[in-house]
């Protein structure tokens, strides 16, 4: 199927996902998650300028989508691990909630646009009192010394730090989930319990953090770790459940994510 994402620049993953899902709204029972996931991934592939922050969001959401899709492909089975099932539902619900919130404020934005364009047709009077009242105006320069003008001038002329345009990240970063899995299986049994933030504290690139996260999800599915997140977007607590021998890393079929 031709990926029809001719609509210009998407401002973010939610923007894109909302577009992809809602354009199928004509007949919602025709909604095909595979098409959405494929279009979504294709759109990510088209993003050649790497804003890593943005790519991170895109990838995390892609991971959730892929999870949901994978789960859908499974026929209903008796032996489904309920924890695994719940995990996917949680991810899905979180994504759904975020999409709804994003859509809500998009709609408010439209209302604001209408308000502003109505208000824009009027111009406020800003003239102030005429010269008859000039002497009454409080003297704002009372007590201000010439020296302060120099200071204010220097302050105004000082070079402002340019907005961050961090291009140094755009190097080739290779990170894959298999490597991350191997590391985790090596590390976690020794540590036992650690927060995700601590676990990834010394990682330089966001993509490495993502890859760790995906690896953790995999370990979670396989029952090697327990993950706990007490609040949305809160830190994730990781507890190692398995023993190192049982971690058959080689047997895990994992796609490599290359950034």
């Amino acid at each position: 199927m031709a990926v029809d994402v001719s609509t210009p620049v998407f401002e973010g993953p939610f923007d894109l996902l909302l577009h992809l899902i809602l354009k199928e709204q004509v007949d919602i029972y025709e909604v095909d998650l595979s098409v959405i996931v494929n279009s979504y991934v294709a759109e990510i592939a088209k993003m050649d300028v790497l804003d890593l922050e943005l790519a991170t969001e895109f990838l995390l959401i892609a991971a959730t989508l892929v999870d949901i899709k994978a789960r859908r492909l499974l026929p209903g089975r008796e032996d489904i691990d309920i924890d695994e099932e719940l995990g996917i539902w949680e991810e899905r619900d979180l994504l759904l909630a975020r999409l709804l919130e994003c859509k809500t404020f998009k709609d408010v934005g439209q209302v604001f646009a209408r308000l502003a364009s109505a208000a824009d047709r009027s111009y406020a009077r800003r003239c102030g009192p005429d010269e008859r009242f000039l002497e009454l105006m409080p003297d704002l320069l009372e007590g201000v010394k010439p020296r302060q003008f120099l200071a204010a001038y220097m302050r105004a002329m000082a070079p402002k730090l340019a907005p961050k345009v961090d291009l140094f990240h755009v190097g080739v970063i290779k990170a894959n989930v298999s490597d991350a899995l191997a590391e985790l299986v090596d590390e976690l049994p020794r540590i036992g319990r650690i927060s995700f933030r601590h676990l990834t504290a010394d990682l330089v690139d966001r993509i490495e953090v993502i890859v760790r996260f995906l690896a953790l999800l995999e370990l979670f599915k396989q029952g090697f770790v327990e993950l706990q997140q007490n609040e949305k977007f809160g830190d994730i607590e990781i507890v190692w459940l398995g023993d190192s021998e049982s971690a058959m890393v080689g047997s895990m079929a994992i796609d490599d994510y290359e950034g």
Partner: protein, 226 residues
């Protein structure tokens, strides 16, 4: 004289014509909307009287077909040109059209307006994109400003809207905005999203009770989906 007479009869308290004239004069020389409390203090009448006086005066201007309006905006009253004659005013104002806000700017403003005070990170998590550029633009235009710091760890800068934002939208206060629940997407959108992100082909009843949003979608319809 007809205008002022209308005003006088509109308020219960005996108001002499000078009060209306004083009100007109004060608002005329103000560079920003004048709060009712300040007008009341200067004119020596209760807030409610001044409020009703302003409302009558605004109605009288409109009825008389003036090219200006008295409006309540950003917490006070101001004079502005009538929207009907904007084309002439724009010919006069050299800078011409007012700057339009981008979709991203409007959405970010919407988030800040309804969730203020709010941190950069919270905005980022709602929009799914880095909001720094937009925040800088909005601050540069004076529509938002840093209103404090999060007392929690990290002490994030918190953002809020300004009186200039209220003037830009022509509203008196953020409390005048419709409640956010009115904007929550309708059932059709929610359903479309839910179906788009449906997990299993055959709905497991126990699991589906976890759903935060109760949208009764029949499982069998999704059979063809994948």
């Amino acid at each position: 004289m007809s205008e002022e007479l209308t005003v006088d009869t509109a308020v219960a308290t005996p108001i002499d014509a000078d009060l209306v004239r004083a009100l007109e004069a004060i608002v005329l020389v103000a560079t920003d909307p004048v709060p009712v409390e300040l007008l009341a203090q200067i004119l020596g009448h209760p807030d409610a009287v001044v409020e009703s006086l302003c409302a009558s005066l605004a109605a009288a201007y409109e009825e008389a077909g003036h090219g200006f309006q008295l409006v309540r905006v950003a917490g006070g009253f101001r004079y502005q040109s009538h929207p009907d004659v904007s084309v002439y005013v724009e010919r006069f104002i050299l800078d011409g059209q007012k700057a339009r806000l981008s979709g991203a700017a409007l959405e970010t403003l919407a988030i800040v307006a309804y969730k203020q005070p709010i941190s950069r990170a919270q905005i980022a998590s709602i929009r799914g994109v880095d909001p720094d550029g937009v925040l800088r633009t909005l601050q540069g235009r004076g529509y938002i400003d840093q209103v404090g710091r999060d007392p929690g760890p990290g002490q994030a800068v918190m953002w809020g809207t300004t009186p200039a934002f209220l003037e830009k939208l022509g509203i008196n206060s953020v409390n005048d905005l419709p409640p956010i629940v009115e904007f929550i997407p309708g059932a059709d959108i929610v359903e479309a999203l839910e179906v788009g992100l449906r997990i299993s082909k055959n709905e497991d009843l126990e699991v589906s009770t976890l759903e935060p949003i109760a949208v009764p979608v029949e499982a069998e319809h999704d059979e063809s989906g994948t």
